[in-house]
Subunit: 231 residues, 2 copies
Amino acid sequence: MNEAVIILVAPQMGENIGAAARAMKNFGFRNLRIVAPRDGWPNEKADNMSVGAIDIIHNAKVYDDLSAAISDLEYVYATTSVPRDMNKEYVTSKKLAQELAVRDCKFGIMFGRENSGLNNDEIMLANKILTIDTTDFNSLNIAHAVAVICHEIFKSNTAQHSPNLQELATKNEVALFLNHLEEELDNKNFFKSLDKKPRMMRNITNIFTRVDKLSNAEIQTLRGILKSLSN
Amino acid sequence: MNEAVIILVAPQMGENIGAAARAMKNFGFRNLRIVAPRDGWPNEKADNMSVGAIDIIHNAKVYDDLSAAISDLEYVYATTSVPRDMNKEYVTSKKLAQELAVRDCKFGIMFGRENSGLNNDEIMLANKILTIDTTDFNSLNIAHAVAVICHEIFKSNTAQHSPNLQELATKNEVALFLNHLEEELDNKNFFKSLDKKPRMMRNITNIFTRVDKLSNAEIQTLRGILKSLSN
């Protein structure tokens, strides 16, 4: 079984963290990661709302920033209420089961803060956008979103998984390559203005996070190319 | 579309009624009926938790007993966390979409009280039991249960939508980029031996052809990077 890691990014209310943990446990998910919870950690309200899922709360890992929280994962989804214009492929909740049936790797699903979801810099780090099918009234409670997605994965888990032939690159390896690339581009004065640099780097990052099943060996190839070209 | 009536039976906490209303609206359900709410009606906590779904709260119908609440419906499901031994047919959440595709009538779905669900007398009134697929930790928050079921029905009713936001790169544009890359790598003597070159170029090509939906603009970015690094 693919056991997704659930990543709550900058959640504001402890109640929602607890409710999300409970939903995770209903559907067999154990790995909760929390990035920069607004009210600190531990959080009594999270404990109280988790009911029988207090073990998930106790085992939750807390991070200061999102990159650290996803560094060991091989594939990451960013949940958004509407598809964003980021030229990143997206999958709807309707098609998720089908998609996951062939995704045999260590993956995570990010959920954004209650009032504004995930921002573009956060979404950029994901391989793909995951959109929950809703009406135009698309603002879901965060724990509801976790419940809906975890249920969707749980009920589809009879799917056959294909063996993984190559070791996949972790998010950290991809990040190191991108840092290296940024450095060399800086050296060459590629980013003409500092204003435009963040947006340009976001576009570049988006290209490489969309390579399906990028392997460890391929990251080495890309770094070799970079080194060679920059000489 | 089958628009199910959602029936909350003896709900205890106003917060859960409000959260359930919000989930209903996310997935296009408007008809909420509430049987004997513990804390009376209206309920300020329900109002607050409903966020943008206050219209559903205001239009909710409140009944003293379950029979009255379902009297005009043609088919009713009773949601339970585990199939009960009642000699009543049941459907799991996994099979619900399939089931509803052929159920063309006015139907409702009952959800029980927070601490003990629906009792046997209440279940008896249903045509069929509806069980949400869960692990053995099967106690769902009532609003989560409403969210999961409403999503399940909604996504089986929506058509597939896939807006293509950006112009995609043609195979020819990708090939031109790869030719350019090969040329620059030749200049830098990247391919140490001619023997290995075809295999190495194949590996490199494989990386870039696996970028999901590579756009025209992104190919330009890659060519810009290449030009800059090779200077």
